[in-house]
């Protein structure tokens, strides 16, 4: 669209018009964020409290929770995500229009939390790209509001000059995990060995497995 080209003031320096346009566009974007609430657990209760009158997310531009992903700007994943729900989360992210941002709210969404078990996604960043992680179990509404304000700060620093590169999405990557195998192994590694369980890689069996009929076709 021509805005990526070197500006009228010389190569490498953004043009006056571009920076002013950046300011206006970012101002509009960051003050009209519509969240897509993906609440699966107790974090969603705090998210609802944030939207209610006492904390009133609407003050920050989150005027309305958008239950349609196609009209949402920021995905708030509040709560634990089991593997059975992972394709749903990925599809909702794929359905959201650019520009879009993602908040991982709470310990379970960010890292799996205490649920370091067979059924739970160990951090939604293995599935979708995450902009802001909010720690807490669950985070208080102040925490969620602070996280949303961090997203607003992030939008403030964006520029139309690198917008295309920043927002590029590979259509073939839709429905696929965001992270590669090595990154997933890094992200999901257990913190310590409190459960004394041996990790199994691939289809290799360990001593813990006694019965052959456990393996389904």
């Amino acid at each position: 669209m021509g805005l990526e080209k070197p500006g009228i003031m010389g190569a490498g320096s953004p043009a006056f018009l571009t920076t002013r346009l950046d300011f206006v566009v970012n101002w509009a974007r960051r003050n009209s964020l519509w969240p897509m609430p993906f609440g699966t657990a107790c974090c969603a209760i705090e998210m609802m409290a944030s939207a209610a009158s006492n904390y009133d997310l609407a003050r920050f531009g989150m005027e309305r929770m958008s239950f349609s992903p196609r009209q949402a700007d920021v995905l708030i994943c509040a709560g634990r995500v089991p593997y059975k729900l992972a394709p749903v989360l990925r599809r909702i992210w794929d359905q959201m229009m650019q520009p879009k941002w993602c908040i991982s709210m709470g310990a379970c969404a960010s890292s799996g939390g205490v649920f370091d078990v067979y059924s739970m996604v160990q951090g939604i960043d293995t599935i979708v790209p995450v902009d802001v992680y909010i720690p807490g179990c669950p985070p208080r509404p102040e925490g969620l509001i602070y996280g949303l304000m961090m997203v607003q700060e992030k939008i403030r620093g964006e520029s139309l000059a690198n917008h295309a590169a920043l927002r590029a999405e590979d259509p073939l990557a839709a429905g696929r995990p965001r992270a590669g195998d090595e990154e997933v192994a890094d992200l999901t590694g257990p913190f310590g060995n409190s459960t004394d369980q041996n990790r199994v890689s691939g289809l290799v069996e360990t001593d813990a497995i006694g019965r052959a009929e456990d393996r389904l076709p």
Binding site: P87, V117, Q122, Q197, A208
Partner: protein, 239 residues
């Protein structure tokens, strides 16, 4: 300031819990007396008379919960009698679940029954050896056993013979790591996290709940006399 506990003040909730159900039921005055022998549960007595060779043993659990161990190959006969007999009428199947004690011990299938007319509860257990994890379905007696047995199949790998729709219910349909509630199942699963993530995203959420599949599904039928109501051939009310 210490609280005076000797002057006949009512017992706290902690005292009641610590003393067990006898104290909480009878009150504090009988607590010091020797515990009376509880009269036998009439259902257990009748069950032993009706099926002398199929009822292995019975015990009282947690003070007032009657548990009966029965032969797994006659489970439908026994549970059908408990459901139909006029003196029993266990018409509500509260839960079907299973227990794996590990160490090569047999898996226990647990049927938690409740009789609405008699207001009585009974727990029926079957022991299944690990090399023969099969038992007859009770969906012909209680239609509500359908999903409960699917859950037991999903998480323990026990096959229910004659079940109309024995699929996984909690884990994904393409789950290939086994049955997670078995004691020999590793806590984090068998595959690597990368493989689990990849497999999770290959499932199609619409495969589980497509309206067409629900429309094609044979409707469940319930007959007034509580007889066999498994198939579509019944003329009962369509749920």
């Amino acid at each position: 300031m210490t609280r005076d506990t000797s002057s006949g003040s009512p017992l706290s909730g902690f005292d009641l819990v610590a003393a067990g159900p006898e104290l909480s039921r009878e009150g504090p005055q009988t607590a010091a007396e020797p515990r009376e022998v509880r009269p036998g549960n009439p259902t257990v007595t009748a069950l032993r008379q009706q099926f002398p060779d199929a009822v292995f043993r019975n015990l009282i659990c947690a003070g007032d919960e009657d548990v009966v161990y029965v032969a797994p190959e006659r489970i439908t006969e026994i549970l059908g009698w408990l459901h139909d007999d006029a003196d029993q009428q266990y018409d509500h199947l509260a839960d079907v679940t299973a227990v794996d004690y590990g160490g090569g011990k047999p898996l226990e299938v647990v049927y938690q029954l409740w009789s609405i007319p008699h207001r009585a509860a009974l727990r029926v257990k079957c022991e299944l050896p690990l090399d023969a994890l099969e038992i007859e379905t009770v969906t012909g007696i209680w239609v509500g056993a359908n999903w409960l047995e699917r859950e037991v199949y999903d998480l323990f790998g026990i096959h229910f013979r004659g079940h109309p729709d024995l699929r996984r219910i909690l884990m994904p349909q393409n789950y290939a790591e086994g049955h997670p509630l078995r004691k020999d199942f590793p806590l984090r699963g068998r595959f690597s996290r990368a493989e689990q993530t990849r497999r999770a995203l290959t499932q199609n959420p619409e495969d589980y709940y497509v309206p067409g599949e629900i429309a094609e599904r044979v409707p469940q039928t319930v007959e007034a006399d509580g007889g066999d109501a498994t198939g579509a051939e019944g003329e009962g009310d369509v749920l």
